[in-house]
Amino acid sequence: MKKQTIESSPAGPRPWYDPRVRSIFFQIVAIALVAWGGWTLVDNTLSNMESRGISTGFGFLDESAGFAIIMHLVPYDATMSYGRTFWVGLTNTLLVSAMGIVAATILGFIIGVARLSNNWLVAKISLVYIEVIRNIPLLLQIFFWYFAVLSNLPSPRQSVDVGGAVFLNNRGLYLPEPLTQDGFGLVWAAIIIAIAAVAGLKIWARKRQLATGEIFPTFKVGVAILVLLPVVAYASAGQPLEWDIPALKGFNFGGGITLIPELAALWIALSLYTASFIAEIVRSGILSVSKGQTEAAKALGLPNGLSLRLVVIPQAMRVIIPPLTSQYLNLVKNSSLATAIGYPDLVAVFMGTTLNQTGQAVEVVAITMAVYLTISLLISLFMNIYNRAVAIKER
């Protein structure tokens, strides 16, 4: 009986000849080798560093840092810890990256569209811009904006004065700082209500358009609501806002908000440089939409602006988004060139001063690399989600 079963069921190959078993076996071996390699790497590094008397571990993050940083978005002073310097550096990196991404995107779209303009001059200016900016190394551009622009600005005592409230000199741009007083909560409430109202208006207008075909001027009315409601609230609450106006004290201006030249130079250079790449991506995206689409839109009687907004751009976006994502990633990574002009970003503060004062290169470099990797993966994630939203829906 037993013998029969064996004969009747098709006898499978022996385990070591079974392709399925084999492939699983080799995958396990490969994983084990990689894990062993990684463990050896870490273990060897640690034991060798110990045998050479180099401190290891992350305890240093709690030690007091003892150095000052010119610009910090989170509260910081020299008595705080090395761990805090990490957050100061990280927020400064994120700030310049976010500012750069916004500016580069806007500028890149404008130049990309201008490059396709029928106006000869506009098209050629865009062409020259793209070819000049993207072919000069970014580091040189950062130096240019920093030193060329800096040395042309006046010293604090000869500042450029705009209406006695805004000052520009070689130490930065000084703006009045709004200080909210009691009662400003009403204005915040008005802003939130206005946003909700605009969202509701948009839904209502779309429903009505689907039902009747009539178009409601959502944009104009929306802007009006967003501006008027908070202004009315501000006036009725008795103008609960005071301005801290910068004033010359001793060496320099005090009070107000300061935009330091390092941030400005880095921001300008990153934005202009990345915009030249984004412009080319936008141009290729628009050109990828076949001419028939535009002609069809025209045949339907859509005006130029609408056919661009409703027909061309949505299709162009499918081509634009993936390479745009890598430009965003480049911009974030390029922001680490900040260290060349003394902008206190993550690399300058944490991988610079903190690394040096503690001497714990392996830990600090590992943390810094992990942070850039995380930021990049997050940007990729969000851009992929957005990409899925604009991609062709196959039904």
Binding site: S51, I54, R171, G250, V365
Partner: protein
């Protein structure tokens, strides 16, 4: 570029720590002899301390400290190759074995001695931190600097001293942190900062680099102690001793009046101290694992400490620094080397 350098240095450290510890147990002296030259880490350009001249030859007191070690090992002061390093890169370069010794106006502190796996092999310049300001600004004393914007080099003890000093005095300041001392000068001349702070010797050097050196002056205040000296890796006592005693030999030679000019005559001296110093008597060299006449080679090729000082930073150089506390203890300074015996 700077980013890449730091990453490379970090990567080099990781890779080198992967190498078996046997590689590091091997003696630095043997490794240097095998290579045929000494690899020495210096600054990337600081007049008087380490800077290449028009012909590409490195000059400076830190450079001469390296050359003296090369002379002791090979009898040839030219058997050195220099690796220019920023303040940020210097310790990693030494830890990873990229260089055999670091001679880069580096301040000796407890943290560096105890937690970096490094040893300071003496002091070749006693310095202190000061301030360089524009004369037009009308400040005579550091206590008037509240609110000033200050250019500073990243990764230095200077960064910490500055913060401590202003905190202790209850003043505030804005630091602009650059990677190299070149950039701090650029920032200072571009008017980005009111004050440049660094070790006083460096300030003298950097001031000499300004387009108009007379437009700037160094404030009288010295806010810290900065003993600068050569550094080696921990765990190789023989090499540590060699670097330490080459410097001591140079200081002792000045004390005994032995110079590169008279060293050949001094070989015939019957002063036992000089005989031990130059190796005509005793076995001082072989105790260190060197030739018996290593002291002679050091003085013949590089000179004694006084010559080294006068040539690079002394009153007749653009830096024009008096000996001050760097004079011998017999002349009212604090330079005092243990005896060669």
């Amino acid at each position: 570029m700077f980013k890449a350098r730091s990453f490379a240095a970090g990567a080099a450290l990781v890779i080198s720590t992967l190498a078996s510890s046997h590689a590091f147990a091997a003696s630095t002296l043997d490794a240097v002899k095998e290579k045929g030259h000494l690899q020495c880490g210096v600054t990337n350009g600081l007049p008087g301390f380490s800077q290449p001249d028009q012909d590409g030859n490195w000059t400076g007191i830190d450079v001469d400290t390296c050359r003296a070690v090369a002379a002791a090992v090979f009898g040839d002061a030219k058997a050195v190759e220099f690796t220019p390093l920023t303040a940020k890169e210097r310790f990693t370069a030494l830890q990873s074995g990229e260089i055999d010794m670091l001679s880069r106006n580096t301040t000796w502190t407890l943290t560096r001695d105890a937690s970096l796996g490094l040893n300071f092999a003496g002091v070749n310049y006693y310095d202190g931190q000061g301030f360089l300001i524009n004369k037009g600004i009308g400040v005579d004393d550091a206590t008037q600097l509240s609110g000033a914007t200050i250019c500073i080099q990243s990764g230095t003890t200077t960064e910490l001293n500055l913060s401590d000093y202003f905190r202790a005095k209850g003043m505030d300041f804005k630091p602009i942190v650059f990677d190299t001392s070149e950039q701090t000068v650029q920032g200072f001349s571009a008017g980005r900062c009111d004050v440049l702070t660094s070790d006083r010797s460096q300030l003298a050097a950097l001031r000499s680099k300004l387009a108009d050196p007379d437009s700037a002056k160094i404030l009288p205040n010295t806010i810290s102690k900065e003993p600068l000296g050569p550094v080696v890796r921990q765990g190789d006592d023989q090499w540590f001793n060699i670097v330490k005693w080459v410097l001591s030999v140079q200081i002792n030679a000045e004390e005994l009046g032995v110079t590169s000019a008279n060293v050949d005559d001094m070989l015939k001296s019957d002063n036992p101290s000089i005989q031990r110093l130059l190796g005509t008597d005793g076995d001082m060299g072989s105790k260190l694992g060197l030739q018996e006449d290593f002291g002679y080679e050091v003085i013949k090729n590089v000179g004694n400490y006084g010559e080294m000082y006068a040539r690079n930073v002394g009153p007749d150089t653009p830096l024009g620094l008096d000996r001050g506390i760097n004079a011998l203890w017999t002349d009212g300074g604090i330079l005092y080397a243990p005896p060669v015996r």
